[in-house]
Amino acid sequence: MNTKILTSSLILLLTGSGFSRTWTSADGAKTFEGDFVSSNANSVTVLKNGRKLTFKLEILSKEDQDFVAEAVKKAAAEEADNQAVADFKDSDLGKFLKKTQKFSGSRFKKHPIETVPEYFLLYYSASW
């Protein structure tokens, strides 16, 4: 399966909720509260008092830079996972497994494959 290569300047779009934090200048002299919005290789965009502000990473504290690096890494991993699933669904095996169902309650319900493991155990069997 081919996995698409991520571009070097990955731009992340994350909603503000859940990413509110205190940001600190590199010299430690100044701080402010803001929600992480997005980032690329050199800068970060923060939502502060309803306004989007973009800062160069170099003017922020090491802790903030590490936070952004980690967020970029997580987003890249998620993007790669999403792409892997999309590629899988287009593959012959993905198409073969497109109509999988899962037993729930009293009947089978649609259960599409949403994550792609390394292996599939195909259990070829019957009730008789």
Binding site: M1, F88, S91, D92, L93, K95, F96, L97, K99, T100, Q101, K102, F103, S106, R107, F108, H111, I113, T115, V116, P117, E118, Y119, F120, L121, L122, Y123, Y124, S125, A126, S127, W128
Partner: protein, 89 residues
């Protein structure tokens, strides 16, 4: 079920899929209900037999381990679960 619970249920590297050979969905449903099957099932009516042809599945039950590209990795219960145990290490 014991092997599934021990080696697959909490193993993110492996997904088990039942390829049901029951002619009717009712029979497959009754079996799933009786065994309280936790794994995904592909009913016979939804199975592309052409895709399965290269794997030469003839006997029931058959255990076949393939990778995400469809490449055969192991066959037979013992070999399959031996390989699955390796993935958990």
């Amino acid at each position: 079920m014991e092997s599934y619970n021990a080696h697959i249920a909490t193993n993110p590297k492996v997904e088990m899929v039942l390829l049901s050979r029951d002619d009717s969905e009712d029979d497959a449903t009754a079996w799933a209900k009786k065994e309280n099957m936790p794994w995904p099932t592909l009913l016979m009516e939804d199975t592309d037999s052409d895709f399965l042809e290269p794997y030469n599945l003839r006997l029931l039950p058959t255990y076949l381990l393939i990778d995400r590209n469809g490449k055969q990795v192991a066959t037979g219960k013992a070999e399959v679960f031996e390989k699955i145990k390796e993935t958990a290490k």
